[in-house]
């Protein structure tokens, strides 16, 4: 429903309008603290859209989101740092690399019942982190990678958070655009059908396995983009930036928003970030909070905010149709 509301509001040029709006409200984020949060949020939103494709569209439960972001971040940072590549090349390389790795995981996952994908992705998580922590010569090990280069695109040098916003906002809007396009396209519908009822999807001639792999590839590209943007925003990379709690936050974002709804995922990320910032001192118990919140949301509103909004609108509509006299004869 949120989708439809959104579609009707910005039916003409909603993505340029969204981008313009995002760029126009930039002065609102006056302090350094605020603009950093907004940048982080936009970057995480890209990853959350990726999770929505994997979990919300295709119904695959993966736990390697943060690890794939780490892969993208280190790929992009190291390509610029060690090989002196320009940012756009490093960014694209990170996207492609993460997409390939993620697709490979999806291929493995097709060999078993979908639930076991979780164990495979946990293995990927462990493997990526062992490499990051142990290969000091390459990644800086547990102490982290310093001096990640700042982004330069042509004549523009995005050295601070404020200028970086002009990069994160367009990337976020582009990510939203492609995720929405995927949702409305044949592959996206096939993925959603496969989640809702796998045997029925198979019966309708949908190659479920193929679309699962494509969902993983698509999400992998998003994680790569998100990780790369994160690396060059902070300028420092450590393994604990991409812990399992980030994975859990992204999963929670999609669950709270409602499986399959891109817009609701973005909205719920904003809400969760606001909650996190409001209770910052309790940081050590985040995992507990996220874990319990996932369970509560599942029991109370398993279809998330999108589902709640939809049922409210449905109820209003039903009341209206009951109280209104049918125009032009009986219409059932």
């Amino acid at each position: 429903m949120i989708q439809r509301l959104y579609a009707s509001t910005f039916s003409l040029a909603r993505y340029p309008a969204l981008l313009a709006a995002l760029l126009l409200i930039e002065p609102v984020f006056s302090s350094q603290y605020l603009i950093r949060i907004v940048n982080t949020m936009l970057i995480q939103a890209v990853a959350a859209l990726g999770v929505n494709v994997v979990l919300g569209f295709a119904g695959l439960v993966s736990i390697a989101h943060a690890a794939l972001m780490a892969l993208g971040a280190y790929t992009s940072a190291l390509l610029m740092l060690k090989l002196g590549m320009p940012f756009p090349v490093a960014f694209l390389a990170a996207c492609v690399f993460c997409g390939i790795v993620s697709g490979f995981v999806g291929l493995l996952g097709n060999r078993v019942e979908t639930n076991y994908l979780l164990v495979i992705t946990l293995g990927i998580h462990v493997a990526i982190f062992l490499v990051i922590v142990n290969e000091n010569w390459l990644t800086g090990g547990a102490s982290g990678l310093f001096n990640v280069p700042k982004v330069e695109i042509g004549p523009w040098r995005l050295a601070n958070d404020r200028s970086y916003y002009w990069l994160t906002a367009p990337v976020f809007v582009a990510a939203l655009y492609f995720a929405e396009r995927l949702r409305d396209s044949k592959p996206g519908r096939a993925m959603i059908a496969a989640r809702l009822h796998t045997p029925a999807a198979r019966m309708s001639g949908i190659n479920v396995n193929r679309y699962r792999v494509w969902a993983m590839v698509f999400a992998g590209v998003y994680f790569g983009a998100s990780g790369s943007l994160f690396a060059h925003l902070i300028g420092f990379l450590g393994p604990e930036d991409f812990s399992l709690s980030l994975t859990l936050l992204l999963t929670l974002t999609v669950v709270v928003g409602g499986l399959g709804s891109n817009i609701a995922a973005c909205v719920s990320l904003v809400i969760l970030t606001a909650i996190a910032e409001a209770f910052q001192q309790a940081a050590s118990s985040w995992l507990l909070f996220y874990g319990i919140l996932i369970m509560v949301v599942m029991v109370v509103a398993p279809r998330g905010m999108a589902g709640v909004a939809e049922s409210i609108v449905e109820r209003i509509k039903r009341v209206r149709t009951l109280t209104r006299r049918p125009a032009g004869g009986a219409r059932l």
């Binding site: 979990l55 060999r111 164990v119 293995g123 499986l259 995992l287 874990g291 029991v299």
Partner: protein, 295 residues
């Protein structure tokens, strides 16, 4: 590498493998009865170990009492969680219950960290750590004890689930809960019972492994992941398979520390998993994967 070390390693691998098999079986009990893929299975073990630790701190020396209390506490907890958080979700399908158990897993892990602290804790070893000599090899008795207990318990569970009325009823729920209900089986009670049993067995494995691996909040993953892999390795639903899968995994883990760079040895478990996926995805003994037999 001399042969004593190798034998020692394989023996501790077998002991760990027996416990992985218990986790695999408790995981299988839930999966076969309720179709819930319980990602928190390993965390039940961790929780049991910590509860037992607290009981031991209050009553020093009463290891067996701590074991019983830990198992019952976790079993009750698991049944309560099933009732509160999972039962409303059966109608929505596997994906929803699965996501819930992921939340549960992290909540338990973090809750342990909040209550007992993030540090590594040590549990006294009830079997003593004096090595004895068997056939000229120095062997620590706890490994043999754990190995035997794991096999014994697997046997007991096998008989319970295959031969008793209760076990048959659980299997019936897995095949068709509606028909089972029509035949007079209290499906809800069976579901709670499956979670209770899996909590008890999982906690048992956690408490037994605690003196060897020490306790830390993340031990749920270290116990659970090999458990899931053992379950798949042996074939989902096959109890002898789970036992053999657990042993294979335990030995591979133990030997991998000797053979490959110890920094990368955690990966060995997953490599075994991927190899199994590529070679024989339904596991060693898995015949029917969807609505199969429990044992």
């Amino acid at each position: 590498m001399n042969s004593t070390i190798l034998v020692q390693t394989i023996l501790s691998g077998l002991a760990a493998g027996g416990l992985y098999a218990l986790v695999a079986i408790s995981f299988g009990i839930v999966y076969r009865t309720t179709r819930v893929f319980n990602f928190a299975q390993g965390d039940f073990g961790a929780l049991g170990a910590y509860v037992a630790l607290s009981v031991l701190a209050a009553l020093p020396g009463h290891y067996w009492l701590a074991l019983v209390i830990g198992c019952l506490a976790v079993g009750t907890f698991a049944a309560a969680i099933e009732f509160v958080a999972i039962r409303p979700l059966y109608r929505l399908g596997e994906l929803y219950t699965f996501i819930t158990t992921i939340g549960l897993s992290f909540a338990i892990q973090s809750g342990i960290q909040q209550i007992w602290g993030p540090f590594v804790r040590v549990m006294p070893n009830p079997f003593g750590d004096q090595a004895i000599k068997v056939l000229g090899l120095r062997v620590v008795p706890d490994k043999i004890w754990i190995f035997s207990i794991a096999i014994l318990l697997t046997g007991v569970l096998f008989v319970f689930l295959a031969k008793t009325k209760y076990g048959t009823a659980m299997r019936a729920c897995a095949q068709d809960s509606r028909v089972a209900n029509l035949l007079g089986i209290r499906v809800g009670r069976m579901f709670s019972g499956a979670f209770f049993l899996s909590g008890v067995v999982g906690a048992f494995a956690g408490i037994l492994i605690a003196p060897i691996t020490y306790l830390q909040p993340t031990m749920g993953l270290q116990l659970g992941v090999p458990g899931y892999i053992a379950a798949l390795l042996g074939g989902l639903g096959s109890m002898p398979g789970a036992l053999i899968g657990g042993f294979i995994l335990g030995i591979v883990q133990a030997v991998s520390v000797l053979v490959i760079d110890p920094r990368y040895s955690p990966v060995a478990t997953y490599v075994v998993f991927v190899v199994v996926l590529l070679v024989r995805a339904r596991g060693l003994f898995g015949e029917e994967t969807v609505q199969g037999r429990l044992v």
